[in-house]
């Protein structure tokens, strides 16, 4: 025990006196969390929170214009700006990016729609031998054109979904009008089917929520993603420091001196791992506090850590162990500090990229998502997301914790056999 405690004390003293190393271990992830959360705040909101700015010019005073306007408001996805301006000005504003979408409803649109529908119904009834036989099939109508404008940088998929949504909304109005005219022509009581009355919906889609409590209604925003993501990245960056420490001890003869001392070398290694694990725990706690208290001061959402402190402790410790095990392996296999720091940094960056630290895994191509399954940073991030976004319990993150522990065991085993080989 004396050997273990003494090694922990020695390692902590060395780490605490290495100001450059401390800066890398604490300030770098703190800066990364803050910068990345700020940078990614808008893109995350684009997809999840932010309303789409829409400019509506409604030149119609009838029911069609009102129905479209109501539909846009009810959708709750648009930040509706209603103005009475010329078509060219609408075009300029949308082109300049002031608005993502512009919609122009022409003057007398309702009247034109009614005329078109009236003519269509009359033609159909005439063809069936009913109503006004003077209207021939060849009599044409002028189509009612609503103008929709998109900002130049709007994605095609987004355009299609908006157009489909609007088409759905207008076809409802068309059908409603059509039915009203048929009723009128067939001399039914116009009071019974009022054209202003909403149509009965035979099939409807209701969104059924999978969330049971209000706190579960948490979406992945830039803070919920970046705080755990860069905390994990910071924890794994300890690989460089740890591998460097092992190589330095090997180079300066300390390792040799330790090996000539009685007692198991595993005790010394355990002391080193414990000291670095302690640093990773402090690192993680500090980063979570940054997410909870510092980021809100910068106008970002505050980090919500879920309900399982035990789960958070487990995932932090397991992540720390995986990182220290990787550090021991890198320090054992590589001969020089330069080799280990280059490999350590590059490998952590690759594992981070695969693990969804920079961008969430679900936006990656399928082939990359398969590779992500093998990144310890992905296991750790999945554990954090389970706790922070899905209100997971300690038990729910055990599969991820288990993978991290296996990774730790594997890296130590590789180091052990590599040493034995030497």
């Amino acid at each position: 025990m004396l050997r273990l405690l003494s090694t922990i004390r020695k390692e902590l003293l060395i780490l605490l006196r290495d100001r450059g190393g401390l800066a890398i271990m604490f300030l770098m992830p703190m800066a990364m969390i803050t910068i990345m959360a700020l940078i990614q705040d808008a893109p995350f909101k684009d997809y999840q929170e932010m309303k789409i700015p829409l400019l509506l010019v409604n030149n119609d005073t009838g029911s069609l214009g009102k129905s479209i306007e109501k539909g846009l408001i009810d959708s709750k996805i648009f930040e509706l700006n209603k103005e009475t301006i010329a078509d060219d000005v609408v075009k300029q504003k949308v082109k300049a990016g002031d608005f993502e979408i512009g919609i122009i409803i022409p003057k007398n649109a309702t009247t034109q729609l009614n005329q078109n529908v009236d003519l269509f119904v009359t033609k159909k009834l005439a063809a069936a031998g009913l109503g006004d036989s003077t209207v021939s099939e060849t009599t044409t109508t002028e189509a009612l054109n609503l103008s929709i404008l998109f900002a130049p940088d709007t994605k095609k998929s987004f355009k299609i979904s908006i157009l489909n949504s609007l088409k759905q909304s207008t076809s409802k109005i068309e059908t409603q009008t059509l039915l009203a005219f048929f009723s009128k022509e067939l001399n039914k009581d116009s009071e019974q089917i009022n054209k202003e009355e909403p149509l009965a919906e035979f099939v409807n889609f209701n969104e059924v929520t999978t969330i049971e409590t209000p706190t579960e209604a948490l979406q992945l925003n830039s803070v919920q993603h970046n705080v755990p993501a860069w905390t994990i990245f910071g924890i794994f960056f300890i690989v460089i420091s740890m591998a460097g420490s092992i190589i330095k001890e090997r180079d300066d003869g300390s390792f040799l001196r330790i090996r000539t001392m009685p007692g198991s070398f595993m005790t010394v290694l355990a002391g080193k791992i414990t000291a670095y694990l302690f640093i990773t725990i402090i690192q993680a706690l500090l980063m979570l506090l940054v997410g909870m208290y510092l980021l809100p001061l910068l106008g970002l959402p505050h980090l919500i850590i879920g309900n399982s402190l035990l789960g958070i402790a487990i995932i932090i410790i397991c992540t720390g162990l995986a990182a220290t095990g990787f550090g021991v392996m890198v320090g054992t296999i590589f001969k020089t500090h330069q080799q280990s720091s280059t490999f350590g940094a590059v490998s952590v960056v690759i594992l981070a990229a695969l693990g969804g630290i920079w961008v969430p895994v679900y936006v990656m191509p399928e082939s990359v998502r398969i590779l992500s399954e093998f990144s310890p940073l992905y296991w750790s991030l999945s554990g954090f997301h389970k706790l922070f976004l899905n209100q997971g319990t300690a038990i729910s993150i055990l599969p991820y914790a288990g993978k991290l522990i296996l990774f730790f065991a594997a890296t130590l085993s590789i180091s052990f056999f590599y040493n034995k080989k030497d």
Partner: protein
């Protein structure tokens, strides 16, 4: 085993994996208790491999031996308890103070508390570093580091002390202090096994020497007797006569 022997090895061989020739080739030697034994030889002669086997760091490919009465092949833990090692490198932590370094090493040998503090203070006083015990090693000169490096190997009062080039790169004063301290430790009963390229230092310090080359012991005995036997004027001349002038690296 000879009861007066601190170290006794017979037909010791070490062949590294994929090596063309043995690093140590059939060495037999006896080092008596209380001796200062110089293991001398050019670079790549097999000195470090021999000492590494005697310290229990690497296993011999064949041969047998005893260190302080413990079997080299199966009593490594007991051997480690009775030896001290001073590596050629300054095996200290630069950002820790002299006291913190020695405290850590003492703890690793099971020493603790007031007893350890007293031992550290005594040794620091002997080598003239008691006034800088709370200064970081990184602020020390080469000679000061060497003296702390020496203390780190003897803090637990080993029966046998292995030193690899303990005075390399230090000034005359520091070297003098180190050799004086080694003499003092030897008088207190410590057996010292020492390697060096400084023949004059070895001639003055060692009671016995072995000259080793290409993994084999070429000659061994008392320095003065060996010098006389080979009609040489000093140890350096004897060394060159036996190992040749050809560069080794």
């Amino acid at each position: 085993m000879n009861s007066n022997a601190a170290i006794e090895v017979t037909n010791l061989i070490k062949i590294y994996k994929n090596a063309v020739s043995p690093a140590v080739n059939d060495i037999s030697l006896t080092i008596n208790k209380g001796a200062i034994y110089g293991l001398l030889g050019p670079n790549g002669a097999g000195k470090t491999t021999t000492i590494s086997m005697l310290c229990g760091l690497i296993k011999p490919s064949s041969g047998s031996g005893f260190v302080q009465g413990f079997n080299l092949n199966n009593q490594l833990e007991e051997i480690k308890k009775s030896i001290g090692v001073v590596p050629q490198e300054i095996a200290l932590y630069p950002t820790l103070t002299a006291f913190e370094n020695l405290q850590y090493i003492g703890n690793m040998y099971g020493l603790k508390g007031a007893d350890l503090k007293q031992k550290i203070a005594e040794h620091l006083k002997i080598v003239g570093l008691d006034n800088v015990s709370n200064k970081r090693i990184e602020t020390f000169s080469g000679g000061m580091k060497r003296r702390i490096n020496l203390i780190a190997g003897i803090l637990h009062t080993p029966k046998i002390l292995f030193l690899d080039e303990p005075t390399v790169g230090v000034d005359v004063q520091s070297r003098n202090m180190i050799t004086e301290h080694l003499h003092l430790l030897n008088k207190q009963g410590m057996t010292i096994v020492y390697t060096s390229h400084l023949m004059e230092e070895a001639e003055n310090l060692c009671s016995d020497i072995a000259i080793i080359d290409t993994g084999k012991i070429i000659t061994q005995g008392k320095p003065k007797e060996l010098i006389q036997q080979h009609n040489c004027t000093n140890l350096e001349q004897l060394f060159l006569q036996l190992t040749g002038k050809k560069l080794r690296d």
